[in-house]
Every structure is written in C-alpha cells, then in structure tokens.
Amino acid sequence: MSGARALLEVRDLAQHFGGLKAVDQVTLSIRAGEIAALIGPNGAGKTTFFNVLTGVYPGTRGEIFFDGSPIRGRPAHEIVARGIARTFQNIRLFSDMSALENVMVGRHARSSEFLLGPLLRTAAFRREEADIEARAKELLAFVGLKALGNERARNLAYGAQRRLEVARALASEPKLLILDEPTAGMNPTESADLVALVRRVRERGVTVLLIEHQMRVVMDVSDRVFVFDYGVKIAEGAPREVTANPRVIEAYLGQEAA
C-alpha cells in the first residue's frame, strides 16, 4: 500500500435535482491502495454520488480531485481515461457481444488506432489489436471466465455477468475501481468469491470504492467505510467504529421502522 496519499478528494460535493438534494455537502477522500465501502439506507444518494464521480451527472456544486486534477463535470469517457472505471447496480453488459469483446471494448481508452489503421490493416494496428485481445484474455482469466470468452454476454450466468463487468472495467487500467453493489442478488458462496476477487483487484494496485448492502461483506473486505443518509455523509471510519456510531444505527433503524 502506498500510504496515505489521497487518490480521490471530494470537497463539498452536491447534486441537486430541482428541489431534491440527492447528494449534498459531501467531503471525503479515498487513499491510494485502500478498499473503501459506501453504505447507507436505500435512497441515501450512494449511486448518485457514483454517477457524479464518473461523469454521468455534472454535479451542482463542489469539487472532485482525482490524482491531483479536477474532474467534476468532465465527460464520462475522459474520466475513464484518467483512471476511474465502474460497474453498475443493474448489470449493463453489451449483451449481444461475446464476453471477450465486452472486455476488449473496455480497453478503448487505452488504445488509439482509428480509421486508417483498421482500414489499411497497418502493422501498428495489428500490434495494438493483438495486445487488446491478449490483455482481455488475461482479464477474463483473472476474473475466472477464461473458458467463457466466446459466449455472448447475455447467455452468461448472473454471477459470471457481474465478474465480466469487473473485467471490462479493469481493462481500462483504472487507478480507482468503483463497484455498485457487486454482490447484489448473490448467494453466500458467490459473495465470498466476489470478495476474494475484490482483494485480488487491490493486489494489482487498484484502489476500490464499493457500495455494499451486506454488512458481512463490508466488515470483511473494507479498510474504511463511509455512511450516507439523505444525501449527506453522516460518518466515516474503520468498519467497527462506524457500526458502533449512534447516528449510523439510527439511520438504519429509522429506515427499518419506516
């Protein structure tokens, strides 16, 4: 781990939709090399926060620094090029493409051959294409889908689809990987496998930020936890500290009572 250098710095971030403050006054920082979890009741603004980080929404106010440069409001594809990749709460694969092609698409930001290369099949193009394919295969193997590369994404089992999303995101060689509920809908064995995968992702030197609902997974995998409620961050700290925090307990109990 590379110590306490902040990879991502968020200052006073807000995303409002009309009168709705989906995210408000969020300040936090993610250290390079850590696995951080974002938790909170449904509707707490976690996914919206991810969407602002990754350029889906522009954000209403505040700043986001990634690796030292401001990224709030930058186009999504540019943010990917700078080193943030993500997965989705509801799996979004390119369902008619093969698993391998899905991962190859993920390398878009790290490749450059444009019209003439492909049309003339230049040496540079062939080299890059071979490299894209080799890396995609390596990533498929990394997430445990080595044999399924030729399957169309839509034909893969649910757990395999989640892994494929991770492989596609990793293909852009992110410094920060953002996972939106990676274990949603998984049984305990699948969840455990995914946790192991997240650890191995970190071992590759990738920082991880994830939204997670299963507390067992959060306690198990994360170095630090941020808690959102009604769009604001109400707590942060080590997993044990946070779960003992009265405000956090209230937020969760309040939801259950409702």
Binding site: T54, V80, S95, M97, A109, K137
Partner: protein, 329 residues
Amino acid sequence: MKGLLHSRRTQWVLLAAALSLPFLARALEFSFLTRVGGVVGLLMLLSLGLNVTLGYVGLFDLGFIAFYAVGAYATAILMRAHVAAPLAVLLAVALTVLIRFLLGLTILRLRGDYLAVVTMGFGEIARLTFNNLDALTNGPKGLQVRPWRPLAFLGAWKPLEFVRKESNVQFYFLIVAAVFLAAEASRRLEDSRVGRAWVAIREDEVAARLSGIPVREYKLLAFTLSAVFAGLAGALFALWDQFVTPESFIFWESILLVAIVVLGGMGSIAGVLLGALILGGIPLLMEATLSPQWIDYRYLFFGVILVLMTLFRPQGLLPSARREAELSS
C-alpha cells in the same frame, strides 16, 4: 455454415460469381439480368451504408435515401458543368459526406424514434427541395447527364469486346467493385476498436460511455462515414442512368433500406447483402418474369414476403456472428 459464410475464400467466390453475371446474361440472351444486377448492387451499397449507422450503432435513420439523392444530383450538376466524371464523383461524395456531417452535428443528440422522425423529415425536405428548386435541378422534369463510358477500354481485349458498347455491363462492373470495397471496408472497421465501440453504443449507450468511449464522436463518425457509401451510390446511379429526378428518392426507398438492414441482420454484412439481393431483386425479377396477368401483383407478393420473413426470421436472415477467438492459449 457460419465459418463458410465468413471465410475469405467465400468472399472471392462470391466476387467471381458476381463478375460472371454479364457473361451469363449474354449466354442466356437475358441482358435485363445485368441491369437487375446493377440495381441490386446499388441497393447493396446503400444498405451497407445504412448498416453502419443503423446496423452497428443502432441509429434509426428513416431518411437515408436523401444522401443518395445528394450524391446523384451533385454528380448530375457537376457533369452538366463539364467537370470530368471521376472528379465529379469525388466532389459529389465529398459534398454528401459534408452535408451528412453537418446534419449529424445538429441532430444526433436526439434519441431513438425522435431521430427517426427527424431524419424522415430531412429526407422529405431534401426531396421536395430538389423538386422545387427548378433553377438548379429542373424540378420534377429532372436532369439529363451526359454519357460516360467508364470501362470502354476493356473492349480492347477480344473476349470483352461486347463491353465496349454496353454501358449496363460497364456500370455493373463498377458497381460490383464498389460493393466489394464497401463490404471489405465495413468488415475491417467492424473488426476493430472502432467497430466494437459502435456496437457497444448500440447495445448500451451509457455503459459504452462509462467504458471510455466518446459516444457523441463515434455516433457522428458512423453517421458521416455512411454518407461515403450513399454518395458513391448516388454518383454511380446518376452516371449510369444519365437522368436524375426527385421521383427516385421517395420515402419508400428509405423504408426499403431499413427493411433490408433489419431483415438481413443488423450489423451483419453478409445478411445485409443477402437482404438487398432478396428484397431488391424479387420485385425486379417478378417484373421480368411474371406473366402479364400477375405482374400487377408483384408488390402485393412483396408485402406478403416482407411480413412472412419478419414473422419467421425476426432476428434477420443472417444475424451477425460474433468473432470467435482462440481461447485455449
């Protein structure tokens, strides 16, 4: 089957078969066949163009024929201004590309069916403008184009002597060459980072953007590139027919192209070519072969075929095959 369809050898066999059509027509004394071949070839060229936008990227374009019209009219007008034919073709294609680029720049942020209706509107605007702009286009009466015999030199070789006088055959060869090049260019783009980006956008635009693809630029690229095919087809059409009227560019033609791409198989080069062969060739062949009492029924038959094909092969005749990678390495 799939392997056979996409192998390189099949491609050359098909090209050879296509090139032999005029000789077959000559042997059968059925010269209309070459004409049918040329018309179907132009349709293939147009369909390959629409396949880039609709097939790969999923941009629903209901006015594609407008760019065929731009290519044809630009060529006709340049030819009348005594520009050399090859240069006229080049300029016409460039103009078609430019106009489509500018249109794409303004309308591509529209989604789905809204894009469809705007392109339909543009198609009608273009047709009506050609129809009404008498000074430039001679209105509904159309423009005559001076003759051009591109491959007359082939006649110097004895076995091809008959080609010297037959403009149908000459243009047929040109069109076959253009279709071959267009298919090859499509294949190369499809099988590259650019093609993958296009299909990714079609499959899930948001996920594509968040995988690092500049979606707006890639849409515009596909939209613009497809005009090369349309402009070239229009130019060849104008030079071949030597006559251009607005009637050739009605809404129905745009619809036919959409039907070809969807029924052939979205994003499938082989499917689109087959679709053009079937949907373009059937009415023409019926026209040539049906007995007089049935000839008026040809469009009715065509409609029935369209419905039945859709009901039985809704995914297209030859859905695009995803590339098979060697995984055991």
